[in-house]
């Protein structure tokens, strides 16, 4: 997580609190370009531009709220918790997949318009909302639940700290689809399992309490499975939780190899 935070871009705007001063939160004027699509009105996609005055502490999600609540109520996007936990508001902001609720405006280049698009590779339903079904189909297929049919213990299933640490990184996934929809292989036809499904398979494959690791490896040893990963690292860069996704995929590849040889 520390590595990931180090890679975040430096703030373009210095806030008073950071420079040691105090007082009112500064404001700045920004331009937001949003990709609009409404199949009930037109099959054509167009871009809308909005001029806003925002606070220095605001996020892209606040800008979208301001547009929806004060300027154009027809703007559609998903958001649930608005605090980077639910994974509803993954979108392409300035060409990069991020969570709108975790992207501070001051970290973006405000000299240019901020572009906001839906994530790629999944069919757009309206504005920033995409159909997540192909994504969740792949997720369901890796059986993302504990499988253990041995005698049920009276207390919790014991797991040492080392065993827990083995898959700690991949437990952080919030299923926002930022990784899968940043993957060029997934863009082709949506058939590749995608980074998110493999990450969630990894979480159970390397769980010492789980018994179906072999089965999940078998599922991912598919024509559309882990072997389609080209290690472009797009997923690792896109992940808002800082999961080392490409590494997790490589570990699954290795596990399949070791099991087969």
């Amino acid at each position: 997580m520390a590595d990931f935070e180090a890679r975040e871009p430096e703030s373009k705007v210095q806030l008073a609190s950071e420079t040691g001063g105090a007082g009112a939160t500064p404001t700045f004027d920004i331009t937001v370009q949003v990709r609009r699509y409404d199949p009930e009105l037109s099959a054509e996609v167009h871009w809308d531009e909005f001029q806003l005055t925002m606070y220095g502490t605001d996020r892209v999600l606040d800008a979208l709220h301001k547009i929806k609540w004060e300027i154009d109520g027809s703007l559609s996007f998903r958001r649930s918790c608005a605090h980077g936990i639910c994974g509803s508001d993954a979108m392409r902001i300035n060409g990069r997949n991020r969570l709108a609720c975790k992207t501070l405006l001051k970290d973006l280049d405000l000299a240019k318009p901020i572009t906001v698009e839906p994530i790629k590779g999944l069919p757009c339903e309206k504005d920033l909302i995409v159909d997540m079904e192909p994504f969740f189909q792949a997720y369901r297929e890796v059986m993302p639940f504990l499988v253990n049919d041995t005698h049920e213990p009276e207390r919790e299933r014991y797991q040492s700290q080392e065993d827990r640490a083995r898959f700690d990184d991949t437990t952080k996934c919030i299923l926002c689809a930022a990784c899968t929809s940043s993957c060029p292989v997934f863009w082709t036809d949506g058939q590749y399992f995608g980074p998110a499904a493999i990450v969630n398979a990894h979480r159970f494959i390397f769980d010492s309490r789980d018994d179906a690791g072999d089965m999940r490896l078998e599922i991912l040893n598919d024509k559309e499975g882990v072997w389609r990963c080209r290690t472009t690292f797009n997923c690792t860069e896109a992940c808002p939780r800082g999961i080392e996704i490409t590494k997790a995929i490589a570990e699954v590849k290795q596990a399949i190899l070791v099991r087969s040889l």
Binding site: G121, L122, P123, C124, D131, E133, P134, Q137, A138, E141, M143, V147, D149, P184, V185, T188, D189, G190, Q191, D211, A212, D214, M215, E218, I219, N221, D222, K223, E224, G225, W227, R228, R230, K253, I256, L257, S260
Partner: protein, 161 residues
């Protein structure tokens, strides 16, 4: 294993439910180790090819008088030697299969329509098979001492006519 693997439902690709190029039917592919073998082959052949290619370049271009000594006699002499026959055969097969698999992967990644994908792959496999077979034929049937050729051009071991 208590939970059985999901049964494979084979939906013909032509009947796929598809929206904006994204297919909604999954899992029509067969499970076997081909993709794993292909992935492993790319890594192993890559390492071998580095040795074979640089060995080839060193012997042909650096040793002795270097590039100036390459003529019909030099190539004829090399292809008459079983060591270089095996070397060149390995180079040919490993490189062609490595390249063909690389192209296959690129077609899989970038061709969006199944028809286009199929045609491109057939063309690729035919071209590779042709080159591999022709190359193999040349390596094993090459005559370093063709009858009636100028003896000046031939390898030293060719008997004078």
């Amino acid at each position: 294993m208590a939970t059985p693997l999901k049964t494979k439902i084979s939906v013909p690709r032509s009947r796929d439910h598809s929206i904006s190029g994204v297919k909604y039917n999954r899992s029509s592919s067969k499970r076997n180790n081909f993709e794993m073998a292909a992935w492993l082959y790319m890594r192993i052949s890559g390492v071998l090819l580095v040795v074979l290619i640089f060995g080839h370049l060193f012997v042909n271009l650096m040793m002795g008088e270097g590039v100036h000594r390459i003529d019909f006699g030099f190539v004829g002499g090399k292809l008459a030697n079983p060591f270089w026959q095996v070397w060149d055969l390995l180079l040919l097969w490993l490189a062609m299969l490595h390249g063909t698999n690389g192209m296959r992967v690129i077609i899989d990644d970038y061709a969006e329509k199944d028809g286009v994908r199929f045609i491109l792959k057939v063309a690729l496999f035919l071209a590779s098979a042709f080159v591999i077979l022709l190359g193999t034929l040349v390596i094993f049937t090459f005559d370093p001492c063709p009858a009636g050729a100028d003896p000046e051009l031939l390898a030293s071991f060719c008997a004078a006519p």
